[in-house]
Assembly symmetry: C2
Homo-oligomer: 170 residues x 2
DNA sequence: TCAATGTGCTTCGAGTTCGAAGCACTTCCA
DNA sequence: TGGAAGTGCTTCGAACTCGAAGCACATTGA
């Protein structure tokens, strides 16, 4: 089933190529479509929606800055910028963590919750229309399983954020 | 198998959610990893690599600006910017089309071809390591099929570039 | 034929993104 | 205990991205 570890392949099989191209294409098109919907309805960028969604998902609606950045695969400085925008719009608040004086916890406000609620149905509808409408239940199940493995693999391989300040060169 | 067209779903099934989250996560992580590899080896951004790859794929190594932009799901002004960068680095040339005086055809230079050749093996290796190593042949096959359907669906739904200058508001 | 409309590309300005550098706090360990 | 190293976040500058507006050529149709 799995390829052995020590063969260095110089090319991809046609099927792998198809899978890769289809993946990138779906990724681009889906993202653009979703982005437009989010902007039209809630005036949110995709990143902002992701941030609010993660906050909405958190048990107490609070997440540390770094965890937010890692969660959406985003630079820390970029997150600072976006968090400022969201705070100015009153959708989140930022306050120092009681546990660690360095940390900032971002909290969803009531306004933030209602914006999230306003955007969500359209977001779901778009996903149905653009993605799931073309897929059978079996397909969706397979997709979740396969991409789950891929995500595990990707997460296992590289430390993404919080990388050491100066990298040891071997 | 397929959902009927007229039920407006208010939420996603847990499996759909898992599929969607796994998809976005793989998309982000894979893109970041690939981006880093491309920048380290060839000094190329992901977009630039996509552009060169498309040119390398074209029968005569020539593609119109608009077709390039549509191919990589990119704004036209953004493409103008990137094409200038690539031209300054000598990887492509831009020349007016003989057919249509307005069109510009972008052509891969020998230098562009060799940069592409230098980057490709590492790109393939990264895909194997990050993505395909975790997937069986059957998985890859399923992935290609399922995402192929999804891409068809997405392409069928919205015209992306070359949208009318002023939209008819119904 | 020639105005009206459409298409291909670029310029421009505003907003976004990132990494490097820097500051503040925390942890480690001799 | 106290300096060194690590971690969390922000600031800064440079690069990138997009949409709107504009120019030039092409197509349409009266």
């Amino acid at each position: 089933m799995m390829k052995s570890m020590d063969d260095l392949p110089l090319s991809l099989t046609p099927t792998q190529l198809r899978a890769y191209f289809a993946f990138t294409e779906v990724s681009s098109l889906l993202r653009h479509a979703v982005e437009q919907q989010l902007r039209d309805v809630g005036g949110l960028s995709y990143v902002q929606f992701q941030l609010l969604a993660r906050l909405g998902d958190a048990p107490d609606g609070q997440v540390r800055m770094t965890d937010l950045a890692d969660g959406v695969v985003y630079s820390r400085s970029g997150l600072t910028y976006q968090a400022q925008l969201l705070e100015q719009r009153g959708l989140v608040t930022r306050s120092p963590s009681p546990d660690d004086e360095r940390s900032i916890v971002v909290t969803l406000t009531d306004e933030g919750i209602s914006v999230l609620a306003a955007v969500f149905p359209g977001h779901i509808e778009a996903l149905h229309r653009l993605l799931f409408a073309a897929l059978s239940d079996t397909d969706v199940n397979d997709l979740a399983r396969i991409l789950g493995h891929a995500a595990d693999q990707l997460r296992a391989t590289p430390p993404r954020s919080a990388s050491p300040r100066r990298r040891k060169t071997s």
